[in-house]
Symmetry: C2
DNA sequence: TAAAAAAATGCAAACGTTTGTATTATTATA
DNA sequence: TATAATAATACAAACGTTTGCATTTTTTTA
């Protein structure tokens, strides 16, 4: 091992060429204030010396990091990954990188992540609140400090005060259940997620509304709110649910793709036929429903687009810093019922 | 809108308390060089003024960002997400954040991402090379600059020169195919991925080795190397494959979970029974194989652990900067054949 | 060809920390 | 109670850029 190799900096180029740091900096920026011949000289020397600008120093000087912080409740949920893909796509097209953190479904982690983002590493924040998130002071504090933030999914509109993007959960569910009803289904089960989560509340509401509208009896035993936070346990919950049921339903509306698939698996294993005996609908449509046999009818959520939209709102905020007239924007994305073999 | 709210900095606290910036800085660090009563005074004032340290300034001063850059070929592959989860877990336990970039299966993007990481934003890099990656000068250049880097998956050992982690692809495939052979299967098909990718080459090698060892005839028509980079087209490729086959194989070894599932779907749709007519094995075991009916036998890859291990190697490098004695480490992780209904 | 105008470059402060060394205040020692 | 030892604090440089303004060089104009 010889000497520790040192990073080349502007100063090194400047010294080598006997010019000032300022000129080197401007030359690399192709600033017309520096002579073309000098620009070329600097560019050439920079290349030959293997110069790489220091992003940190740039950020300190400019006050911009070009990083967007993203906080999602969990990684192992295709929906969130897909949204992140959308965010990433839009962000990169606009010269931002994204830094993803998982709150692991914990309000405390969400708060910590948010606070760590207040340390100036990111220019703006995108957040999808956990089901535990009831108080919004941590988010308001971000807003008060003037840090751009956009929320998505699982939002309690009343409290937020920040731009946000969501899908029409209630309408989507309503449509799906109405579709089942119009197919003549009478015993329609509902399998949802954690009751505390707004999205699941809305999806449940859609179910109830449809059932009521058409005067279909609602049976408690046909309603399940899964509350396991871990994928591993979802299966057990669904097994338990079917063990308790007196008569098999003729249709099941489920609130995620995974619930739908687990439900289909369980039903098939118990010897029922899909869709002859039971129809099943999933929510999300992130690829698996199409592969399963029989393929699963799903409410298709525009997850990627949601990510792009969220990022767009954030980048807008970043481009118009402390805009007095900025009216908080709420965007609701449409869903679509994709019909397949399970109905 | 009143005045633009300014961030509180050390100087503000210092001025307010009539002490020096240095003392404030040390007080917040709980440096014993500052009197306890002063520490308390500073801490209290910092809190009341809502002070948040500036991460960028810290990084510039300390030369450390505590960020690890991760480059994966694509987001929409559960394997990579799972590895990232593992990386993230280990990283956070050691006070690092991760910044993920996708190379979108393109060598050019991979190079660009790597270069952007040379700008000092990250302390170290984790990279999984694309199938297109044949020349390794971009990686060597990183190593030469003394930036810690660890590779995983899809590595051509000879060229690398960096720490890396992989799984025993050839052995895993060999075992799986051997298992099929021992079950008495004679017409065993192989469905792999892009031929240029080392992991798929190894998995193909395992297949061939097992077939040869037991003198099972190998038919070209039973071998498919999918080369679509997009999930959407994988299905079509597999359909095409089955359209061409003269006699259905009695077992199929596939190189990813998704190929396995698509294969099962196709077979079932064509009226064959699994496992009676055809056995199927997948590779990865990232959750879906268990849900499908029939459930799919899989080679289980320790993806999460892989991520943790990769991160561990990197953090080790970060902790022993330019260690003369650092011998490049190659770690091979074991897989396991998880038996389910498809065999 | 000297003065004015324009072009090119340089100086130095700023971004917000950390940290080695110098200085000042306090306590202990004789 | 002067002095030495120690504790507490302050100063200032450094991290690598950017950028407003000052200065120097070159070109234009009369």
């Amino acid at each position: 091992m010889t000497l520790k190799k040192k990073r080349i900096k502007l100063e090194d180029i400047a010294r080598k060429l006997n010019i000032s740091i300022a000129t080197v900096s401007r030359a690399l920026d192709k600033n017309p204030r520096v002579k073309l011949s000098t620009q070329e000289k600097v560019l050439k020397e920079a290349k030959s010396m293997g110069y790489m600008p220091n992003q940190i120093a740039k950020s300190l000087s400019s006050g911009k990091t070009n990083i967007i912080g993203v906080i999602i409740p969990r990684y192992d949920e295709p929906f969130f990954i897909e949204v992140c893909r959308g965010i990433d796509r839009y962000a990169r097209e606009h010269n931002y990188k994204i830094l993803i953190s998982s709150s692991r479904n914990s309000f405390e982690f969400e708060r910590e992540n948010l606070i760590s983002f207040e340390r100036g590493l990111v220019d703006g924040i995108i957040l999808s609140p956990t089901h535990e998130t009831e108080t919004f002071t941590h988010i308001k504090s971000i807003i008060k400090k003037g840090i751009p933030i956009v929320l998505f999914d699982n939002i309690r509109e009343e409290v937020s005060g920040a731009d946000h993007v969501l899908i029409e959960d209630d309408k989507a569910s309503f449509d799906a259940v109405e579709f089942l009803i119009k197919k003549g289904k009478k015993r329609i089960a509902f399998i949802g997620g954690i009751k505390e989560k707004k999205v699941f509340q809305d999806r449940f509401k859609g179910y109830l509304d449809a059932m009521k509208k058409y005067n279909i009896p609602i049976y408690d035993e046909l309603i399940l709110h899964c509350d396991s936070l871990d994928r591993e346990f979802e299966d057990a919950e669904i097994q338990g649910f079917f063990n308790e049921i007196s008569t098999i339903p003729d249709a099941i509306f489920t609130c995620t793709d995974n619930y739908g698939l687990l439900t289909m698996k369980t039903i098939l294993k118990r010897g029922y036929k899909i869709p002859e005996d039971v129809c099943v609908i999933g929510f999300g449509d992130l690829g698996l429903g199409e592969v399963f046999v029989p393929s699963m009818t799903c409410i298709a959520q525009p997850s990627f687009e949601m990510g792009q939209k969220v990022a767009e709102l954030l980048v807008d905020q970043l481009n118009e810093p402390n805009d007095v007239n900025h009216r908080k924007k709420v965007i609701k994305l449409k869903t679509e019922l994709v019909l397949r073999d399970s109905t």
